[in-house]
């Protein structure tokens, strides 16, 4: 059983005639301990898909019209509020784009981390994390939590914050962006999730800090054996991190593939265009090519193949019927009949 299985998810914003389809038939699986990258431009529905895993998109306006999201085999879309609260943090944790905005400005960071601990791993009871058995590479069962402060310090140390003892009393605004993001990661790890969803965790940070945070996530994954869903618009960071990549365009997945193969040989015209838009250090004096045209806005999606209006290889058929996502080689799925 996969840790996460999204099957044919369809979600609208609004109801009835005003409804705008934001996510249209997305299917995605993530195995335990696997890292999957979700790539796409802003507005393509990747963040909404990611937030849906713990049903964090406010409803209304969100309206799930079809599909299911199986987390540990249970459908998130059918869960009660009580059950939702258990899986939020307990199974899936989030790291968001803007660490400065995601930390509550008026509480000390130590207290904010402690909040997660008290909720998911209260003192005295065995941590839920110890319940996981065969599916991950947990080396040993850790005993129940004894002391919140000590655990907060351990977590801060784990995410590479120097002198954590003096940092727990800090307010978010007293830290740099990179440090804030480390705190966010520590907070996400506090509840010992099986899946960490990182939504553009480095976009708001300086380039040098970006690399450090990615390095940190990679290292943590190795040590803790959790799965990661990394959302990014930057194909450049996919190679170092991901086992598999899903490319999203206008609410649909257009290509799904093992990361290495995708980078070596993209199949979908959109993926190819994205690759060409990434500057290469070794590529010589090639001009960066931008994709002509604009990202279609939600509600304005082309009727058939959504990429057709901007596609350099578009044929007349492309604007007639929606292409299916088809497995063209082992593990490689493409939503384009002309991928060859």
């Amino acid at each position: 059983m996969n840790l996460l299985e999204i099957k044919n998810l369809k979600m609208d914003f609004g109801i009835g005639a005003d409804a705008l389809r934001a996510v249209d038939g997305v299917s995605l699986t993530i195995g335990a301990g696997e890292t999957v990258c979700l790539v796409g431009e802003s507005g393509c529905g990747k963040t909404v898909t990611a937030l849906s895993i713990a049903r964090l998109v406010p409803a209304p306006p969100a309206n799930y019209v079809g599909g299911e999201i199986l987390l540990n085999g249970r459908d998130v879309l059918k869960m009660s509020n009580r059950e939702l609260r258990d899986i939020r943090g307990g199974v899936v944790s989030y790291v968001f784009q803007e660490p400065g905005a995601s930390l509550n400005p008026v509480f000390r960071i130590g207290n904010q981390i402690k909040e997660s601990l008290k909720l998911h791993r209260p003192i005295g009871t065995p941590a839920p994390g110890t319940a996981r058995t065969n599916e991950t590479n947990t080396p040993c069962q850790r005993p129940a939590l004894q002391d919140y402060d000590a655990e907060v310090i351990r977590l801060l140390k784990l995410v590479g914050i120097p002198a954590p003892e003096s940092r727990i009393k800090n307010y978010p605004f007293e830290m740099s962006g990179g440090m804030q993001q480390r705190v966010m990661i520590a907070m996400a790890l506090a509840s010992e999730p099986k899946l960490l969803v990182a939504d553009e965790p480095t976009t708001a940070l300086d380039v040098t800090i970006q690399a450090q945070i990615l390095e940190l996530l990679h290292g943590l994954k190795q040590r803790l054996g959790m799965a990661i869903l990394l959302i990014t618009h930057n194909l450049g960071i996919v190679g170092d991190m991901a086992d598999r990549v899903a490319v999203m365009y206008a609410g649909q997945i257009v290509e799904l593939s093992p990361a290495k193969e995708l980078l070596r040989r993209p199949l979908h015209p959109y993926t190819k265009a994205l690759m060409n838009a990434v500057p290469k250090l070794a590529g010589g004096a090639n001009r960066l090519s931008a994709i002509p045209g604009n990202v279609p806005r939600i509600g304005n999606f082309p009727p058939a193949c959504r990429f057709a209006p901007r596609c350099p290889m578009a044929k007349p058929e492309c604007s007639e019927k929606i292409p299916e996502l088809v497995e063209v080689e082992a593990g490689r799925w493409v939503r384009c009949p002309f991928w060859k």
């Binding site: 609260r85 939020r88 943090g89 944790s93 968001f96 905005a101 509550n104 400005p105 008026v106 307010y171």
Partner: protein
């Protein structure tokens, strides 16, 4: 934090000086004074008037008068009320206390109504509760203090449940302490309610929109993503942040409250600073007008300082910034 508060405290001094200077200047520009009417009286000799004028430095230019006034105020003496024929200090202190009582209780009532309603409306956004609250707030914002006070007078006169006017009954001195307390409270309730009714609507709307803003904030989504319960998310994470902007508008709301108190005092005969100002105005007792304006401004300034204190206590970004 201390340097921030110290700076705010230091800021109050030139402000109060400026206010007193401005009011003094205006009073100096005013045609005629208390003695203009007195000099019409054939029973009072011009010598007496000249003597009195000299005693109150009214024969000097206004800026000299100002310095005499400032000197005595700084030593805690607000001079002598020519119209009331008693030292102004005791008069001012008593009236200031009454205005403070009225405003303070009105404020407690208004905030006590506005905050829960604002929170309720924001949490139940677009429900009938929200609509009802915002309609009520519209009506509350639009009903003039004058009309409300008149209606309250009418209500008191028609039902006889509340005394009409005054801060205590004439026989208050003869009562036992418990009776005295009840007597004063009884006189205070209606004016305070009127003032609160004119004041709550703005605060409620502010509370609602602040909470709606913070409920949209990313840290609220992040808190939900950690599995915190909805109640905890709203009442701890969102509300705590929605309070801070409310404290920064506290000053404006207090200024409006004091202006409202001015009207309520004059219509409902509550012996506060506003009523004293009008009495002094009609009696051309210009020093007393200046005293009243400065004291009212002082009340406002002190209120703002307390709001600054609360804000510093509530918002670590202000408290810890050097």
């Amino acid at each position: 934090m201390w340097s921030y508060l110290f700076k705010r405290l230091l800021h109050m001094i030139p402000l109060l000086l400026g206010v007193s200077l401005l009011t003094f200047l205006l009073m100096a520009l005013a045609p005629g004074d208390y003695f203009t009417a007195l000099s019409q009286n054939p029973q009072i000799s011009p010598e007496t008037i000249a003597h009195l004028k000299a005693r109150f430095h009214l024969d000097q230019p206004w800026y000299v008068q100002y310095f005499y006034w400032l000197k005595s105020v700084l030593s805690g003496d607000f001079g002598y009320s020519m119209a009331y024929k008693i030292p102004a200090t005791s008069l001012i202190v008593q009236r200031l206390w009454n205005t403070f009582l009225l405003s303070f209780f009105a404020m407690i009532i208004a905030w006590g109504i506005a905050l829960p309603l604002g929170i309720w409306a924001a949490v139940k956004k677009d429900s009938w509760i929200d609509r009802g609250c915002s309609l009520a707030a519209f009506l509350g914002l639009s009903v003039p203090d004058v009309l409300l006070s008149l209606l309250a007078l009418w209500f008191a006169a028609a039902t006889g449940w509340f005394p009409v006017g005054g801060a205590q009954s004439p026989v208050n001195d003869l009562m036992s302490p418990a009776q005295q307390f009840w007597d004063r409270a009884h006189h205070l309730i209606l004016p305070a309610l009127v003032l609160a009714a004119a004041d709550w609507a703005g605060i409620m709307r502010q509370m609602r929109s602040n909470l709606l803003d913070t409920l949209r904030a990313e840290y609220v989504t992040a808190a939900r993503a950690r599995g915190l319960g909805e109640g905890w998310v709203i009442y701890k994470h969102a509300l705590r942040n929605a309070i801070n902007p409310l404290l920064t508008i506290f000053g404006y709301s207090l200024a409006a409250l004091l202006s409202g108190a001015f009207i309520v005092e004059n219509i409902m005969a509550w012996p506060g600073l506003g009523r004293l100002t009008m009495e002094a105005f009609f009696a051309k007792d210009s020093y007393l007008v200046v005293d009243c304006v400065v004291m009212a401004t002082g009340l406002l300034v002190v209120g703002n300082f307390i709001a600054d204190l609360l804000l510093a206590w509530s918002d670590p970004r202000i408290r810890l910034n050097k």
